[in-house]
Symmetry: C2
Subunit: 378 residues, 2 copies
């Protein structure tokens, strides 16, 4: 603690000018308002010498803006995946000279209300409402007064005019299925959802959309999932159980050997399920990808540690966070009222493929193509 901060008045006094002049010079409006070059120079020099930094709180009070955004999420910290979303948001904000308030609700509506109020009381210029897993949510009140963006969440109603950023799960689902097909696989098991388009762990948007994409491509190829396993929760132990079921049913290609022919593969609905599946396959003496190819979603850090590395579609957390901030800043820059006209677009960000070693190419057999399920290879 020590001496007071240097204020504009200090700079003005030290330069022998009024604070108006100092303000004008330092805000770059000196030339415009005909302040002589000599005075301008003097003010800038003393400002520099004194280490003057404008007090943003004061500016905020006057201008009604704070160059600050609020980031409210349900559970950032709990999920390992979440961090990057904040990181992307942080980076984008910093590039634009904005700071971020972070808040966690843990799913508690009352806490959310309090956080929102606390942020609004601090005059944030905009709010990002983030969710750790993609879901529909209702919008809290009070967001009509301030620009807002939904991150990794979709608004409950359909008439809501609020920009939204989500991963393109449907496209990723399509690509996952396509990938296996392109590698010659025709026997494809699903761990996490299916076989019907509604057989999904309730509440998970990602599951439903991934599944829809997968089924679309399979159907286009005249295929059905060889088997499908809805899981109560997408955790390793459920993946373990599902994989063991698949093995027990003789679903693995040539159990125990690296058989050729129509390949057998698993689409796991997330990496943690895949992790469990790895364990089950390992215990059964089967190897990935020789006996079973696996493709998954999320690109959990885990995916890179597994042996062999897990091929997976990454949730673009960093991009999601960044994009949300950029959209919000656009909304803030737009003239008030314009936001009401602008289409509250849903921005779907691509999920990039992280290709590792869990998918192998198989020779397509003549009869394999177009055959639905149950092509026994052993």
């Amino acid at each position: 603690m020590s001496r007071r901060r240097v204020t504009l008045a200090d700079v003005a006094q030290a330069s022998g000018v009024s604070s108006t002049t100092a303000s004008l010079v330092l805000s770059g409006r000196g030339a415009e308002l005909r302040i002589s070059e000599g005075v301008q120079q003097r003010v800038r020099e003393t400002s520099e010498a004194l280490g003057y930094r404008p007090n943003i709180v004061s500016i905020g009070l006057r201008k009604g803006s704070s160059r600050t955004l609020g980031f409210v999420s349900d559970t950032v910290a709990t999920s390992q995946l979440a961090g990057d979303m904040i990181k992307g948001a942080l980076a984008a904000a910093r590039e634009h000279g904005f700071m971020l308030f972070i808040g966690e609700t843990e799913g508690d509506t009352k806490v959310e209300r309090k956080l929102l109020d606390a942020m609004l009381d601090r005059q944030v210029d905009g709010i990002i409402l983030a969710s750790m897993f993609t879901r529909r949510r209702r919008l809290p009140s009070g967001l009509d007064h301030v620009p807002a963006v939904l991150l990794n969440a979709l608004p409950q109603g359909s008439h809501v005019t609020i920009p939204t950023v989500v991963p393109d799960e449907h496209a990723a689902g399509r690509e996952a299925a396509r990938l296996l097909l392109d590698h010659g696989h025709r026997t494809i098991h699903l761990i996490g959802a299916g076989p019907g388009p509604d057989d999904v762990t309730p509440g998970t948007v990602a599951g439903r959309e991934r599944l829809a994409g997968i089924l679309e491509v399979l159907h286009e190829a005249g295929l059905e999932p060889a088997s499908a396993h809805v899981c109560a929760d997408w955790l390793p132990s459920y993946g373990f159980d599902a994989a063991r079921d698949i093995i027990a049913a003789g679903g693995a290609a040539g159990a125990g050997g690296a058989a050729g022919g129509a390949g057998t593969a698993i689409i796991s609905f997330n990496d943690r399920l895949a992790f469990g599946a790895y364990q089950a396959l390992h215990e059964a003496g089967l190897t990935v990808p020789d006996d079973m190819s696996i493709v998954s979603f999320d690109d959990h850090p885990l995916a890179d540690w597994l042996r062999p590395g897990l091929t997976t579609f990454a949730i673009p957390h960093h991009d999601l966070g960044r994009r949300a901030v950029e959209l919000l800043l656009e909304g803030i820059a737009a003239p008030a009222g314009a936001a009401d006209q602008a289409p509250a677009a849903v921005h779907r960000l691509p999920m990039p493929l992280r290709e590792r070693d869990s998918v192998r190419t198989v020779r397509a057999t003549a009869d394999g193509v177009g055959t639905a399920a149950g092509v026994p290879a052993g």
Copy 2:
């Protein structure tokens, strides 16, 4: 967006009193300054009716405080472990009506400078400087004007008067060694550091302290590590290699069988190394804990997913974050100048044991006790 916020002046006008009176009433100083009960009631009612919320920015300008803290870290989001630290800080801050600015430097000093300035410009009441892995760091300038706390980091100099919060790695090291000893193990391999107290991956405070604690206890029991493996980085692949070396050297108890007698165990310096070790043991056909017990540090989410569950000492991230905020708030509440006198204590938080299934009890053999290393079990 819509109509202006309700200000104190609005409440005052609607109540037919001056804004002074309104302020007095709403800040609870009404009785003290002899405002009649009738007026007080009226003001409170209109305030309620209008949904008045004081503008904290304005209060901050007047009082010089913002009820806001800055949380600057090197890499919160990168590390999976980090989230909980922020979460703890967030929770503690919220309980005291404070908000948190979060900033990430990614280890870049220039970025750190900018973030600090941006936060100071916004009149934060205090700063937390956090590090993802415990390390020594120099303090940036400008923190003499504002209360600050180091989180999961130690100041470079010794004369520095800044409170510090770190996990008690040394105690955890002792407990880890003690745990294995208590379970009858006498052949103890180290993955990540050792055998000498200086054989540590450079820069890692945790490694050095954990190792010191481990060696202390081993030496007290008249033991030396059976082997030790410094790792360039604490990642699974290094743990894999180290474990394979141990297996190759015949270090596993009765390789291939669940032999009794003097138990064989590994202390892994973190969970990711342990994960790699699991994979190596698995590939070698050895089982945990029957052929090899493992105890580790960090309590990575991974630890709970592994089969069998990994027994590990948790970094108390949540507590660390919470404690840092509490210390900071104490520093803020303390009269200016008092901080200079107060001892800048280093607060070491205990690392709780998460006991799972990777350590088994072995029958202590008579000759095992007190014998150094290399008790061949097979």
